[in-house]
């Protein structure tokens, strides 16, 4: 038993080292000094309070999408559609704010209603993918991916159509909301403790939901073996739908936070890849909710830190994506290799 733990750690460390090695080779190939680049990423993420704040701002939606996808993964579902669900969350939140911005309602209430609308929007979009899967026999991967495209088109239509800025519409999005409708932030920063607190709370809630409740156990049973779960008395398709709904709610919340806390308007690509990144985090932590927060933080730091590379070395900021993807790929590979290794013993 003890020996196995060391074998596990060995394979994980090997995967990590290999990911760093390949990334280094790529850096060398594009002519950037690797060591300085890594230091640059670190500095870019933690070099100043502002940078750390940027990491925390980026951490929040990633926590939410990771938490959401942990639920659907538990039920054995690949919710690729989180990007779209996040986008719909943003659209619904924007819609609600636009609807109420000129009323006499207190701003706090408007913001709350906006966030709630976002949660509902994400849930609706997710339940669409769920219904396609449950009643239409459409694989959730295709349904989710298709709905992602639809949501992008819808955003662009809104930004350039009915919700365009006075004058001409532009890719920079809709007219920003007035300051009272922004989520309150820490002084002199753009960090909203509300957003951060909600996100952390949701991850903790999902952890307990999956670990300690009948609901979580039934989801897990459906994910492991729907037939057996059904014979044991679990209403299988309903639980699949629940999983989609909850995941959509969390993605929608992430979208609503982007609108109320970060951008204060709707803009194209507001989901910013957080939906997919959440999938990566979930895979990297092998679907163990307890690791969601630190690994999501690490990914957020990579994202923010690599912006520095673009400034200093003229490297594209998608470089952080290369490192993240390599890491996930190699850790998954390492896991496969570990299992083969243990079987052979």
């Amino acid at each position: 038993m003890k020996k196995n733990i060391w074998i596990n750690i060995g394979f994980q460390a090997g995967a990590l080292a290999l990911a760093l090695l390949i990334t280094t080779l790529i850096l060398v190939a594009v002519g950037a000094p690797p060591f300085k680049a890594y230091v640059g990423i670190l500095g870019g993420a933690f070099g100043s309070t502002n940078k750390l704040v940027a990491v925390l701002i980026s951490w929040s939606p990633l926590l939410l999408t990771t938490a959401g996808v942990l639920i659907t993964f538990s039920a054995g579902l690949w919710n690729i559609g989180m990007e779209g669900q996040m986008t719909l969350g943003a659209i619904f939140a924007t819609w609600m704010l636009r609807l109420l911005q000129n009323t006499a309602l207190p701003p706090a209430l408007i913001i709350t209603l906006g966030i709630l609308a976002g949660v509902i929007g994400g849930a609706l979009w997710a339940s669409l993918a769920g219904a396609l899967k449950t009643f239409g026999g459409v694989n959730e991967i295709f349904g989710g991916l298709g709905l992602n495209f639809v949501s992008t088109a819808l955003t662009i239509y809104l930004v350039f159509g009915p919700w365009k800025r006075p004058g001409t519409g532009s890719m920079s999005g809709t007219q920003p909301f007035s300051r009272e409708l922004w989520l309150p932030t820490l002084p002199n920063t753009e960090l909203s403790l509300w957003a951060l607190g909600l996100s952390v709370l949701m991850v903790v809630a999902v952890y307990f939901l999956l670990r300690g409740t009948y609901f979580g156990l039934r989801l897990k049973a459906v994910g492991k073996n729907p037939k057996a779960a059904f014979l044991l008395g679990v209403p299988t398709w309903q639980y699949c739908m629940f999983a989609f709904l909850l995941c959509g709610m969390l993605a929608g919340l992430a979208g609503a936070i982007q609108v109320t806390g970060v951008y204060h308007r709707l803009l194209p690509n507001i989901s910013n890849g957080y939906g997919f990144l959440g999938l990566l985090v979930a895979m990297l932590i092998n679907y163990q909710a307890i690791w969601a927060a630190p690994v999501a933080f690490f990914f957020a730091a990579l994202n923010v830190g690599s912006i520095q590379l673009q400034i200093v070395y003229k490297l594209d900021s998608s470089f952080s994506g290369v490192l993240q993807d390599l890491l996930v790929l190699l850790v998954l590979l390492g896991e496969g290799a570990r299992q083969r290794f243990l079987r052979r013993q």
Partner: protein, 496 residues
Amino acid sequence: MDVELHSIYKTFGAVHANVDISLRVPAGTIRGILGENGAGKSTLMKILSGFIRADKGEIFLDGRPVIIHSPADAIRHGVGMLHQDPLDFPPMRLIDNFIAGHEGGLFLNRAAAARDFKRLAEQFGFSLNPDAYVDSLTVGERQQLEILRLLWLGARVLIFDEPTTGISASQKEKLFAALRLLAEQGKTVLFVSHKLEDVEGLCHRVAVLRQGHLVGEAGPPYTTEKLVEMMFGKTISMAGRTPCEAGDVTLGLCKLSVEDYRLKVRDVSLDAHCGEVVGLAGMEGSGQGLFLRAVAGLARTVGGRIVVGGKDLTGKSHHAFKRQGVAFLPAARLEEGLAVGLNLTEHFVLAEEAPGFFINWEQGKALTQKRIEDFNIHGTPVSPVESLSGGNQQRALLALLRVPLALLLLEHPTRGLDVESTIYIWSKLKERCTQGTSILFISSDLEEILQYSDRVLVFFSGRVTPPLDAGALTSDKLGELIGGKGWEEFTSGKGA
């Protein structure tokens, strides 16, 4: 082509599927391979057709020793097999299926293939439209397609695995005519079946397998009694059956009809009483599985009524049946009964009524520990179910059942288990009976059916006998009925 198998051995884990089997089949003949489920027929045929490798033994084709690595390799040697469920591509056209297995270059020659297809089909009197889609065909027509395909690929030895299951009488005639024609052309036909009448009417000679051994061969004229005895072994002990007192009716079936794409089970009526055990006998795929699932609310019925404990559940979902005290234990323990990846505690917590939102894991573990002791399961509360042996998985499934139950439905409750586990499982089931549960179970083991049932329903190609008193049944009689003999007496009172 002459086929000779020499001293074939094959084991799967602890199961001896084939033990020292030697068989010679000359070209131009039809050889029946007879035996009950699990006798090793399919294993032997899969070895010959390259699906699996023998542990030991040799294969000679026309006197030359060959080593067959794969099905593609087999067809290169001229050996082709038709599987019970045809291995084809239902969403594709016939002609594409026909070409799919063909070796060749990059480009298809559909026109030439279509010409060959037509010529072969005419030769055998098959009317198949090469442009139709396979999923529009009946099972019989899909077999015809397979025959043509294998012949086109150059098969000179054709293996048919239970080909008469699920096809109509007229298609069967056509099939048999085709098989005779194949033999006349000098092909070698191996005909795997458990149906005595098919074998008797068709085969030049029959080899009988039982529990992995070749127990003997027979030639015409066949005597049914002799074949039954060879298939099922000697007389069977009848100890251990306790006649039941007629109690309340727990399950009432009135002219229940159920069907799927290959079988129709019609008008089954049965009243099962408290504590009664009803055995469902028949070769696999004769309709008993479909029937049992219908009684569990897992298969759609097309007629009749199901009443459990006085409540009409016809057309209701399995969960409604469950609430009324019906439990179903599938034969595929890891595929349907248990969730691989969850441990025993998670299963027991899942199976119990949820008292609230949060799980008390301590309590769950304690409950699991107690059930593990009660049911003598070799495992711990945190053992993943897939780490348990088959017998322990079955004990776990029984331990998962709630108390009390009105009706317990089991598919092959002791399949693959050793004697000790089998006895243990039945002692637990009998305990349930004394608590008033009625049991319906499927088994392909005649001994088990006769030993534990109070009454027996025998299934054959979707036909069902009225409930027969197990005390008055002999293994010979049961074996004949399973093989489709001696049904005349039921034709008038069918489904009574």
